[in-house]
């Protein structure tokens, strides 16, 4: 199991918690350490508590755990919220000069640092969090120079004076602790390596994947936690000749993206929660007009406004079945941050090859978690682009009917029709949400209706045969215990394997990135004694699908508190479920 250090900074919303945490995470990444971060908007009490948590190790880390070693607490609430995770060896950095009396359990080490005064000495009270980072460096024996690099990155744009002041603030914090405390007995140390890591979150990976895949048009409407995809693309996509437009609502956003796609651009939209409900209106049109469109849903807790900043995997049924009538589609769910990148690339290829909507279903946990990777994990040379049956001026001729009309919805063996985009000579045609003939013109002829429905579903069948719909696999392939999961639970499951192994429990983990079409798991399920499906929702939407596929009952682990699974918690629940009865 990874030798890890668990660190957090917490306070009120508006205390600069996020940027402080990110600076420390970046410093650790610069030092060649792996980092996995999480954000606590969760409040067990009330009000604006927020925290940024970092788990770091020289080995890869891909989950949070229920343990906190060092906590920078800007408020008493930060301490109270985390009492369960703090332990006897925990150190809590706080500012005793501030108005609150810190109540810190005796077993823990209270490190009282005059954050505000030291920050003022360095040039301004605003840098008090940076003083705390310097203090944390001292407790862990982490070289502040790594912090310098992160500070340069963060404040470089604001001028060298600001950077220098911040470096000074960090040093004052470090020196204060060195002079006033002897904390070596706590035994914290931070080993460094020569490795270079990049640090990014799932939404940034989706945005980067979109640009890499040739997406040039993005239309969206702000909604947590999808907005950061739009923010990532804004200011970057332009460098590649693209554009981001903020629509007046999601009804508009998806239709703008559809317009961009019909005009020949690789186009996408992304949303969450209520936004995907509004977009549902247009799902059918995307499918019947056979428009290649990528629709990302970064799931958050619902229904309705639900818990907008909390984790949930509750939209699976919506992605599979949303929209009236029968809407052919692909549903892909990246299982990690690197997969957010690669599955986005794949989504654009699938959309264009099969002229079908592709739902890229990610979730809040992945969207806010920053994780380290070697840069080769995003090797751009491996990005392949397949535009499918896009025809040019010369190829159009093959697809004209006797009167010279372009057969945009030609009935073909594989179901895929040629695609001509505006400007292609003789390619002019209409597409519509009405049932239509091969030319795209309205029809209610029974034979033509059946032909068009069949050809649209034949595309899905072709894709099912031609493309890869495999699962990812971890743990012991021959184990009797099979755990199945989708989406972002993969990392916590992989780490849970270590805990289970310690207890002598062997487990095979299957992590499924494709919901429709999806891999056939009958053999794997047949071979296992115990099958548990893990997901972040109350009803077990994926478990229902699997039971439907293989016609056997499975056990379920469901979490819908709004907080993602943690590795240690998951190991415990798996152990519990293994001895439970299969539901009747």
């Amino acid at each position: 199991m990874a030798e890890d250090l668990n660190w957090a900074v917490g306070g009120e919303a508006g205390d600069g918690i996020d940027s402080t945490g990110k600076i420390f995470a970046q410093a650790l990444a610069r030092a060649g350490r792996h980092v996995f971060t999480s954000k606590d908007f969760a409040s067990r009490i009330r009000g604006g508590y927020t925290a940024y948590k970092i788990r770091t190790s020289v080995e890869e880390v891909q989950s949070v755990v229920d343990r906190l070693d060092i906590l920078v607490a800007l408020t008493q609430r930060t301490i109270d919220e985390n009492l369960d995770e703090l332990h006897d060896g925990s150190a809590i950095i706080y500012d005793g000069e501030r108005s609150w009396e810190a109540e810190i359990p005796d077993e823990m080490t209270a490190v009282d640092v005059p954050l505000k005064s030291l920050a003022e000495d360095a040039g301004g009270a605003i840098m008090r969090n940076i003083v705390a980072l310097g203090a944390a460096c001292e407790i862990t024996g982490f070289d502040v120079e790594y912090l310098d690099e992160a500070l340069e990155k963060r404040f470089g744009g604001k001028g060298s004076q600001i950077v220098e002041n911040n470096k000074e603030a960090a040093r004052l914090g470090q020196e204060y602790v060195a002079e006033n405390y002897d904390l070596e007995h706590l035994g914290y140390s931070v080993e460094t390596t020569d490795n270079d890591y990049v640090l990014l979150n799932g939404n940034e990976a989706i945005g980067m994947g979109a640009i890499a895949a040739g997406c040039r048009f993005y239309a969206g409407y702000p909604i947590t936690p999808a907005t950061s995809i739009m923010e990532y693309l804004t200011g970057r996509i332009e460098d590649y000749g693209g554009h981001v437009v903020q629509a007046e609502d999601e009804l508009s956003a998806i239709n703008m993206a559809l317009g961009g796609a019909r005009a020949g651009a690789r186009a996408m939209t992304a949303t969450s929660g209520a936004g995907i409900d509004l977009m549902t209106e247009t799902f059918g049109l995307v499918a019947t007009s056979e428009t290649p469109l990528v629709i990302a849903d970064v799931q958050r807790s619902g229904p309705s406004t639900g818990m907008p900043t909390k984790q949930e995997q509750g939209d699976l049924n919506m992605a599979l079945y949303g929209g009236h009538g029968e809407v052919p589609r692909f549903v892909i769910t990246p299982t990690s941050i690197t997969e957010c990148f690669w599955k986005t690339v794949e989504a654009f290829n699938l959309a264009e090859k099969y002229q079908t909507p592709v739902f890229l279903v990610s979730d809040l946990a992945m969207s806010v978690t920053e994780q380290t990777f070697p840069p080769e994990a995003f090797d751009m040379d491996d990005v392949e682009i397949d535009r499918g049956k896009l025809v040019d001026d010369d190829e159009v001729d093959e697809w004209l009917d006797a009167q010279g009309h372009f057969r945009a919805h030609a009935v073909t063996d594989d179901g895929v029709s040629p695609r001509a985009i505006p400007g292609t000579v003789d390619g002019a045609h209409m597409s519509t949400g009405l049932e239509h003939d091969e030319l795209g013109r309205r029809t209610e002829d029974q034979d033509e209706r059946v032909q068009q429905v069949d050809k649209r579903y034949r595309k899905v069948e072709t894709a099912q045969e031609e493309e890869n719909w495999d699962y990812r696999e971890f743990g012991d392939e021959d184990a009797d215990n099979l755990i199945i999961s989708w989406g972002s639970n993969e990392g916590a499951l992989v780490e849970a394997l270590d805990y289970l192994k310690e207890d002598g429990i062997d487990v095979r983990v299957i992590s499924v990135p494709y919901i429709f079409p999806r891999p056939d798991l009958s053999e794997e399920i047949e071979a296992a004694d115990d099958v548990i499906v893990v997901e972040c929702n109350a009803t077990g939407q994926f478990a229902d699908l699997i039971e439907h596929d293989v016609l056997t009952r499975v056990k379920r682990i469901n979490k819908y508190t709004g907080v993602r699974f943690k590795a240690d918690e998951l190991a415990e629940q798996i152990t519990e479920q293994l001895s439970a009865e299969v539901p009747a």
Partner: protein
């Protein structure tokens, strides 16, 4: 674009199924003529049609076209134009499509000032669903769902456009073929969002806003010496609810279309075979 394009090139070989005498025949003819006259051809034109009797133009015209979801034609047109500034985009639909279910999009399309034209075939009724009140129906107009009239004032689409910061506002009458075509042409040629509300009578369900009514009441701004560049004068005619005007009410001489303001000039359909050459820079940003 070839110079020998004729307006009939924009006609599909589907025979319109509109009721004989429907205003949409004239409205569509003017659109096709204006497109041809402004040097466009079907392969470089994208028409987005709304849902309604009016929306059927997508089928009766020949060009690249999308006939989409009720009320969402403007967003589709916006997307097409942003991705392909080289393509002529014309959006058309009914008064219900544009001012009721799509009213939100109308306001924002006007503000955005994307360089396309928007033709609303205003018959002051829901034609396709067989005669219910539309947002431009008179307050005492009796229909199956409003037996005593809607009892609410009709929307003034021109004023709505003006209030939203429009750069081009015009109105025409389907039956005045020449003027109608001219006005649509001006909307196409305008650098920005060219909005034309067209009186396009429904002969089946609207016995008030008829050809005769418009013929008797229409005042052509051209004959009145109206200066469309004069904002105050435009405001006056737009807010004058006693008369039915035809002509260009307002045109902002300094209109800067969206693509110029935002530097959106590239043909976005063209992309490399793999990731862009310098794409690794995107990864390095995360160091």
């Amino acid at each position: 674009m070839s110079s020998d394009v004729r307006f009939t090139d924009f006609k599909s070989d589907k025979q319109p199924t509109w009721c004989p005498g429907c205003g949409d025949f004239g409205t569509m003819n003017g659109m096709m003529k204006a497109l041809a006259e402004t040097g466009n051809d079907p392969d470089n034109t994208f028409v987005v049609a709304g849902i309604g009797c009016s929306g059927k133009i997508g089928t009766y015209m020949h060009s690249y076209a999308l006939h989409g979801v009720h009320g969402r034609a403007l967003p589709v047109g916006t997307g097409v134009k942003m991705a392909r500034p080289d393509i002529e985009v014309m959006v058309a639909g009914g008064d219900g499509d544009g001012y009721s279910i799509g009213a939100g999009h109308f306001v924002h399309a006007v503000r955005r000032n994307v360089d396309m034209s928007y033709v609303v075939m205003d018959n002051r009724i829901y034609g396709l669903t067989k005669g219910q009140a539309s947002p431009t129906s008179r307050s005492d107009f009796e229909t199956s769902t409003t037996p005593e009239g809607p009892k609410q004032p009709p929307v003034n689409p021109l004023a709505l456009a003006l209030a939203s910061g429009a750069s081009f506002i015009a109105q025409s009458f389907a039956s005045d073929a020449l003027r109608h075509q001219e006005i649509i042409q001006e909307a196409i040629e305008h650098d920005g969002f060219g909005f034309v509300n067209v009186f396009s009578p429904c002969v089946t369900f609207n016995d008030v806003d008829t050809y005769d009514y418009f013929r008797d009441n229409l005042v052509d701004l051209q004959d009145e010496g109206h200066d469309p560049n004069d904002y105050e004068a435009a405001k006056e005619v737009i807010l004058d609810s006693d008369k039915e005007y035809q002509g260009v009410m307002y045109q902002d001489e300094n209109s800067v279309p969206y693509h110029e303001k935002h530097g959106v000039t590239e043909d976005m359909s063209e992309i490399p075979d793999g990731a862009p050459d310098d794409a690794m820079d995107l990864v390095r940003e995360f160091y």
